[in-house]
Symmetry: C3
Subunit: 303 residues, 3 copies
Amino acid sequence: MRHLLDFEGWTEDDVRAIFETARAMKEVLARPIKTVPTLKGRTVATVFFEPSTRTKTSFELAAKRLSADVVSFSGQASSLKKGESYQDTLKTLAAYGVDAFVIRADAAGVPHQATRWVDAAILNAGDGWRAHPSQALLDAFTLEEAIGPLRGKKIAIVGDILHSRVARSNAELLAILGAEVWFAGPPPLLPRHPFFGARVTARLEEALKDADAVMALRIQRERISGGLLASEEDYRAGYQITEDRLALAAPGAPLLHPGPMNRDVEIEGTLADGPRSLVLAQVANGQAIRMAILYHLLVGGGS
Amino acid sequence: MRHLLDFEGWTEDDVRAIFETARAMKEVLARPIKTVPTLKGRTVATVFFEPSTRTKTSFELAAKRLSADVVSFSGQASSLKKGESYQDTLKTLAAYGVDAFVIRADAAGVPHQATRWVDAAILNAGDGWRAHPSQALLDAFTLEEAIGPLRGKKIAIVGDILHSRVARSNAELLAILGAEVWFAGPPPLLPRHPFFGARVTARLEEALKDADAVMALRIQRERISGGLLASEEDYRAGYQITEDRLALAAPGAPLLHPGPMNRDVEIEGTLADGPRSLVLAQVANGQAIRMAILYHLLVGGGS
Amino acid sequence: MRHLLDFEGWTEDDVRAIFETARAMKEVLARPIKTVPTLKGRTVATVFFEPSTRTKTSFELAAKRLSADVVSFSGQASSLKKGESYQDTLKTLAAYGVDAFVIRADAAGVPHQATRWVDAAILNAGDGWRAHPSQALLDAFTLEEAIGPLRGKKIAIVGDILHSRVARSNAELLAILGAEVWFAGPPPLLPRHPFFGARVTARLEEALKDADAVMALRIQRERISGGLLASEEDYRAGYQITEDRLALAAPGAPLLHPGPMNRDVEIEGTLADGPRSLVLAQVANGQAIRMAILYHLLVGGGS
């Protein structure tokens, strides 16, 4: 594995190799001293052309836990305004001896292009609506911890599917792991052409029925003001995950959300903090998964 | 000591234990190599929901001197706008394995609430007008270095008392150490109900008379434009600490300011840089005190 | 060498000492593990009162490669608005035990003043239009790698000379190394009084003729909107470095640019990424040069 852009060409064995390393990283993170010397003297750059708190912090801390040096570049506080292009930014940082770039971009495809611009490992930390593979890996890892192997399991993904790179990457990865994915959401937020074999429905109940796990996606308030949604109230009425609706799923089916959550919008508040919520397990596993990805890209192992 | 929120329940012995550790940390800071491995592999998060340069830098460098990993979160450059609540932010960071949170918030009580949200040590780095205990500890430590034990000493605190968390925390801590605190300032900037036994007066001379030390507080220019003060000139005329006014205090009484200073407003410019000013000693001691606090919270010792 | 402010008083031997250390640092940077313990426990503060991505990142990474602790202060996200002066900011940071300050300021002379304010090494990372000595050192180092010793060589520097601290520092350093410097640019962007013996011309061809190397400077778009330049198109027509114009220089003469470049403005796009461009070599050498400077200031050697 040289880059992590999406899951094109991945086999289940590739996924299992990452999960196995992530389990070893979780053991490191359970120790009082959470640092290992694995990437001592190597340099990881986080390059975020779109703001993000969680993913950036998660990757930077993962790199530090592995003793890497971290360089941080954010497109807003930078000389991007001065006319520097994405390409120049990455080539400049590469000239500093960066070994891996963690890239988030508002435009799809920037991480792919980056593999041609610089001689370093590229991790896609989210590009436009296209892909967010580390999120999908941590979601699937968290799901398997909770409900076991995903082959043949029904996973319901609810909310703004159309604009969601999380939905796309989850569908792609869950297909590799043999799960059956259902997308549900308001019709204007559903994709016209389904992707990666996922089933698409506007009827929430159909997606939730006997689902082994339910994932609610973030609703971007911009979409509501932009007219794609009538109102937040309408969304709640039709698609909020409530106790009653979750009862349609398999008994004890867990609930996920990639965060940050709009409290009491996508998920009823009490559920979000309840025993079936895996939200904080996702965050904690995110760090282990990102340590595992950095390990596979910079040290090797797996594929 | 599990958290540092304010000084409720503290004894003089608790304060002395911090001071003793701070003296050891000052010895570390006097060496060419200022780093010790005390907190290697532990993680300290600074979470500032309100901007600050000094306190944030001071805590981050203190944590680095102790070899901790530092995660930095600032409420303005973050996804707080995206609707993430204080609680979600802290729980997310806690899931990364943070051992101690240094929290500044514009609302009083957030650090107290945080102790219920996450399983980590909480340090209050200033919450609203309520408390700023690390500042009070460094002030008292600096005072004792300059004028000896504070029991029975008269300390004058001058300026905007009403809106000052520094004034509150100083009064609380100085009472524990047995000092006599006088507050002086323009009537609209004085508290209606005095706190922690401090005396309150609008007559600057009364507070300064025979004072063993004088602390000027920062005047927020917002308060002036907000109408609480007639003008900066009026403040200067009535409450600026000048050579003449300082002559009312005990001979050689030192002068403190928590910074950042409005030059030539709270203190006459020449005094601020003169031999009686402890302003830079406060900054230097701030680092030692914050190293001591982190040590007591994360390693133990003291109470 | 106690500070790096500009090249006043420098001899060629001083420059050669820096270059020799930089060559050793390049060997470190060619290793998989790019970190050495040289500055372990020492503290370097980057204090940027004017935004910059490249220079700040370059210095911070150089300091980290040498195992120094790095404190970062940026004038925009800080309490500067709260009325804190440059002087107070630097004195406060110095009280934390900072060993070296890397200072960028929009006003000329701030780094010089800083040497009187604090007891630490001062590195000028650019002050107004005045000087940017680390840039000149990396440029000359890169030039010598490409074309050998600079004595007697003709170097053409093209663009907005008047407002360029890069032009000033390059002229000063290249004079020490015995090169012959030619400045060319639109008349409103040329200095009225030439500096450091450089020749000044509005005729690009005169500067390029038989030049051993060509350096294009960044055009600030603000200058164009400010009326000093008729239009970007006019600049291109008169002063853009193109294949045809570069043919006037000595065969194979290399092309430099301090970055960030306005693509297809100062340099024809294909040339910028072509084999004669040293732009990325400049960036990579910048790190080695800055490591060398920090070494000479904090450890000694050279002069």
